[in-house]
Symmetry: C2
Subunit: 404 residues, 2 copies
């Protein structure tokens, strides 16, 4: 079993009903597990391999689409560092968010809920919609204005209701959070004060990296939007360290979108409150193709900052041209990542050229989401060159390509 | 080790160089393995679990992106039959073709080739491009005229050269096959006379189904384009039957696109030659969204017909509205399939309503490819309805959705 406690006042709370925060002080909730809970199930190929470390009771029926258990790939790219790709594109809806959502929707069923709702036009929306569909729950997805159809059509296939909030995504996020409270709707947004259960998904990425590598890497490089993914992976290694499995924790590096690098500045300035963090939001933020991570306010930003600081890590920020270039580099390794996820590799490149990552070090880049969901972003940005050929000229064109 | 022999004259050939057909009689080549080759590697999560049954030497360096090892899902959909989904959408480039291509590109490296080429604008192109990228080989993809950009942009990310043949896909296919012979280019088209190694990929789907289910299902329902996928899965169970692992073979059902159902007619008429099959091609075939399987000529069609006939199976054909409806049904189970793959479920539905599949029978539908690669097909065909909401009206809209 597990216990739930408030991160602020340390009070223990129960989860007979869905709680998003401490009933006494409003603090965020976290989970604690028995000491002997690390016993990966040898036969499981999914993240439920770690079910004793996830906040579900053993007798519950899992809502699962076989999430997690993703490959740790080892492409040959740099001569001087030992690079691994944690390939989260292989999840059911193409991203790491499926891990959080398998837990969150399982809990929704446990709590007897019939509807889930969130603000997202990206990976979290796809995951929420797919798992809700699987569980037979009603799914409501709220998006900001002007999201292209290609990003929403899969939600239609999953059977979601799509509401377009007449404002920015950040305004929609706040509105959804407020409406879910007011109407008692189960929120599947993946940040601690919206849904603490979702926070337990990302740590399974860390557990898997440990098992696949047999040790802790020197670095883990993670794209950062709201902050929960980096925090969770960092926490996994804190767990493994506390259990005596690894001698030291990896340095956690967070990759931010250029122009949305408030967490870096906040870390430098020692910012310690959400209000201060929120006040740093650019308004509006610059246009970017890194839509999945470019958030004006990171709801779990303080936790991500702590994970970076406590592991002697750092933040780096990546421009759109750098994100597209990294996407092409990953493509040449046979991995099609979306730009917002390819930034993990751009971050590695940056840390390597800054000599933060040193010769001989082992580095895991977490490639969070698949490019197939975001081919639409490339239209007009990546040239789709096709050379016309026919029976008359074709052989000459090919000979030329082959350099013959 | 394995041996290679001609399916027509039974002569044994070697693979010191790449051969696409029998040097004596031009017949197709097949592989034979030692009797004790069924020894799945317990620690492998990919299709290379069956490496002793794949035509690579043990010492070869595999070109792999962790293909295969896909989930066998068991959604609750029908009350009267035991349905499983073999979820091939979870492969590296989103389809079962990755299995064939991991073998084919591994062999290209073995043969010292520096270029691969094929005609395809679909799953096979993506797989060829990705594995070639991974192996550091040049990739040439030839497409017919007028393929939309969204289908080609991922190939650009993988670094392929795209040639647009000024004709139909069928003409381009013939041209590519001829040019590959003439210029001695390694062809990665997935049919026996183009590349016999590719034929060994689909059988690993069958081996996995057997291991995941612990027995043979009553039916396996497979979308059929060129025919190799159905043939390979059928052959896997023929193997398992010969080895005494299963008491009987599953009935193989092939799902064809309406208007491209020549294999069904050919089976009824007892057609036994490729020339006759080719002569049945509609010219041009009707417009369809099932672009991945709607082929005017099925290069491995005779083999697929034999697999259907020998297992007491059948062919069914599916219209575009039925394919789209099946896509939505799968979506409600949390699986986003492309229309050309969702037809597997449409086929099950048809066989069930025709009472071919009977009460209590176990049925595996092979969902071959992910919808995320084909969201572009849905534009204008699936309505992307979004309801505008704001702070004033939003709660009322949601209350209405909830039926409150």
């Amino acid at each position: 079993m597990y216990t739930i406690r408030c991160r602020s006042c340390r009070q223990t709370v129960t989860d007979e009903t869905f709680r998003t925060s401490c009933p006494s002080c409003g603090g965020g909730l976290e989970f604690a597990y028995p000491d002997a809970a690390w016993k990966p199930e040898a036969n499981s190929r999914t993240m439920w391999r770690y079910k004793d470390l996830l906040p579900v009771r053993p007798h519950e029926l899992l809502v699962t689409l076989s999430e997690g258990g993703t490959p740790l790939d080892r492409p040959v790219l740099y001569p001087d560092i030992d690079l691994y790709i944690k390939d989260e594109t292989r999840n059911p809806t193409g991203s790491h968010k499926d891990r959080a959502m398998s837990i969150a929707v399982t809990k929704a069923v446990t709590f007897g809920r019939d509807t889930v709702m969130l603000e997202s036009d990206g990976s979290t929306a796809l995951a929420s919609a797919a798992y809700a569909a699987r569980a037979g729950l009603r799914s409501i997805v709220v998006v900001g204005r002007g999201v292209p159809d290609y990003r929403l059509l899969p939600l239609v296939v999953y059977g979601s209701h799509i509401l377009e909030y007449q404002g920015t995504p950040a305004q929609a996020l706040d509105w959804v959070h407020e409406v879910c409270r007011k109407l008692d709707i189960y929120e599947t947004s993946t940040f601690r004060l919206a849904n603490p259960y979702t926070m337990e998904g990302p740590k399974t990425i860390g557990y898997e990296i440990y098992e696949q590598l047999g040790r802790a890497p020197d670095w883990i490089v993670v794209p950062v939007g709201g902050g929960a993914t980096l925090e969770g992976i960092g926490r996994a290694f804190a767990d493994l360290h506390a259990w005596g499995k690894v001698g030291r924790r990896p340095r956690m590096a967070g990759v931010l979108t250029r122009g949305y690098d408030m967490l870096n500045e906040a870390l430098q300035r020692g910012i310690a409150s959400d209000d201060e963090l929120r006040a740093m939001a650019p308004d509006p933020g610059p246009e970017t193709i890194q839509v999945k991570i470019a958030m004006t306010y990171a709801p779990d930003g303080l936790e991500a900052m702590a994970a970076v600081r406590d592991s002697a890590g750092c933040f780096v920020s990546v421009s759109d041209p750098e994100a597209l270039a990294a996407q092409q580099v990953l493509g040449k390794l046979g991995i099609y990542a979306e730009p917002s996820s390819a930034v993990a590799l751009a971050g590695v490149e940056k840390l390597r050229s800054m000599k933060h990552i040193r010769e001989g070090e082992s580095v895991v880049a977490v490639v969070t989401g698949s490019g197939f969901r975001e081919t639409g972003t490339l239209a007009g940005r990546v040239q789709c060159q096709r050379t016309p050929v026919d029976a008359a000229c074709g052989v000459a064109v090919i000979d030329n390509l082959l350099g013959r």
